[in-house]
């Protein structure tokens, strides 16, 4: 568990360092995700410690969004002013992406 957490942090640290050193536009943790995925695939399996740490973090992923989400109090006037584009992007944009992905996936995956 601790080893797993350390591995996650090491990947994030490596990702942040790479993003800064190479001036990449990608967030450091995403590079870290790529590094971890490459390592796991090369190793051929997910070590138990990393699996436990990852499952523990991802089980309460929702909790981690809350501090940033509460930041909505800073943007209440912006949300009120942009209620239409924001509301339409959320409702229309999400359903458009959802429907398109489903139709393309079903067509391309075909019968098994």
């Amino acid at each position: 568990m601790i080893g797993g957490l350390a591995a996650l942090l090491l990947c994030q640290l490596a990702g942040e360092l790479l993003a800064r050193a190479l001036h990449l536009p990608v967030p450091g943790p995403v590079i870290g995700m790529g590094l971890l995925l490459a390592t796991l695939l090369l190793g051929g399996r997910v070590p138990e410690g990393i699996g436990t740490a990852a499952d523990g973090l991802l089980a309460h992923l929702g909790l981690l969004f809350i501090p940033a989400g509460v930041g909505v109090v800073l943007h209440l006037d912006l949300l009120a002013a942009g209620a239409w584009p924001i509301g339409l992007a959320i409702l229309g944009g999400t359903l458009l992406a959802l429907g398109l992905t489903g139709l393309v996936a079903q067509r391309l995956l075909g019968r098994r």
């Binding site: 967030p27 971890l36 991802l58 992923l61 489903g102």
Partner: protein
Amino acid sequence: MNPLGELWVYLSREPLAALTATLCAWWVALRVQRWCGSHPLANPVLLAVALLAGALLLAGIAYRDYFAGAQFVHFLLGPATVALAVPLARQWAAVRARPLAILAAVGTGSLAAILSGLALGWGFGGGAGLMASLAPRATTAPVAMGVSEALGGLPSLTAVIVICCGVVGAALGPLLLTLLGVRDMRARGLALGTASHGIGTARALSVDAEAGAFSALAMGLNALGTALLLPLLWRWLAG
């Protein structure tokens, strides 16, 4: 200074109060979700944010003071993003079986989500800040916030929008997919994960294990693709 005032100064200086409030709000929100029979509209993230935002506004506490404590929870988004590699690695066999079909489907949905966000933000004259906050909204929150920040958007606005997109997709997505005749569980999962990230994946998992697996996969691929391609697309559109 009176004792109550001293107590207030102590509470606002230490991270303890903000952390406790955040965890309590999450706990209450999870309980409410269970009371509502896990109805997709009773989303715990939305509930907890509403509780805390309401409390801050009522008590007149500055968001900066709250965040000074809650940032320790916020920090964990980084390692959680890295941890998304684990479900992706576990489902790698399924990806390798049909890589092109999966990539094409997720890529289509991802592009549709980005472009519809940009078009709506631009069409309503929202300016670059709003567009940058809307564009990455279909990806999982840690990635969306990172990308939004990198593009000059408002990460906290993006977080709220991302959460709302998850709730909309999880609540209405299954109905829409049935109306469109998408019955393949793999396709339904890919659609939910692409458009509604973790909240959609939770919903897919509660319906069907295979749909859940493909949803987690789509969420990871969309996060990686958006993080890699949106900054480049943005630079190209701006330049």
